[in-house]
Point group: C2
Chain length 105, copies 2
């Protein structure tokens, strides 16, 4: 059993976002990303089996999807999609997200 | 791609906690639980392969573990453990948690 506190473990960065590998195992990978406004994960995808969840812990921004689609990303939102489907997130405020990838890549 | 907002999807219950199945697939299962003080998930385990994460989105309480161990559960905490390892969580305030199980059980 392992407990990590995301609010004390990782801060924010002006030059680029801060990230923290919370957990990696054969079952899933868990990552925390903290973004300042304008920072984020550009739309990307991997030609692999599996799914990803992105949980907005704090702040807001936009999820990015196929064909440059933009969807509001608010505190408490959970996005789930295939790893092979284009996905991303860009912050418009200070934003903390938790990403889970199963199986890990 | 599917987006669920946990703050609008599920509330709290006086008689028992409220839960929401956010996602279920061959890769992982994602569940939201909202607890009032005293509510929670008692210590339990399953004799199965896999791991579980419990993220505290709001509020506080205690994680419960083997041998009745109690550990503080605060906003931003992420607990990860084997499904076969005893684990639980009890709220001491209104508390929102997100549970991810991989592979799903």
């Amino acid at each position: 059993m392992k407990i990590t506190n995301l609010y004390t473990a990782a801060g924010f960065g002006d030059v680029s976002h801060k990230s923290l590998l919370v957990h990696d195992s054969p079952y899933f990978k868990v990552l925390n990303f903290n973004f300042r406004p304008g920072q984020g994960l550009p739309v990307h995808s991997h030609d692999l089996e599996g799914q990803v969840s992105i949980v907005v812990l704090e702040g807001e921004g936009e999820f990015r999807a196929r064909d440059d689609a933009r969807l509001p990303a608010r505190k408490g939102d959970v996005l789930v999609c295939d790893i092979a489907e284009p996905h991303g997130v860009i912050a418009t405020s200070e934003m903390r997200v938790l990403v889970t990838i199963a199986p890990p890549i």
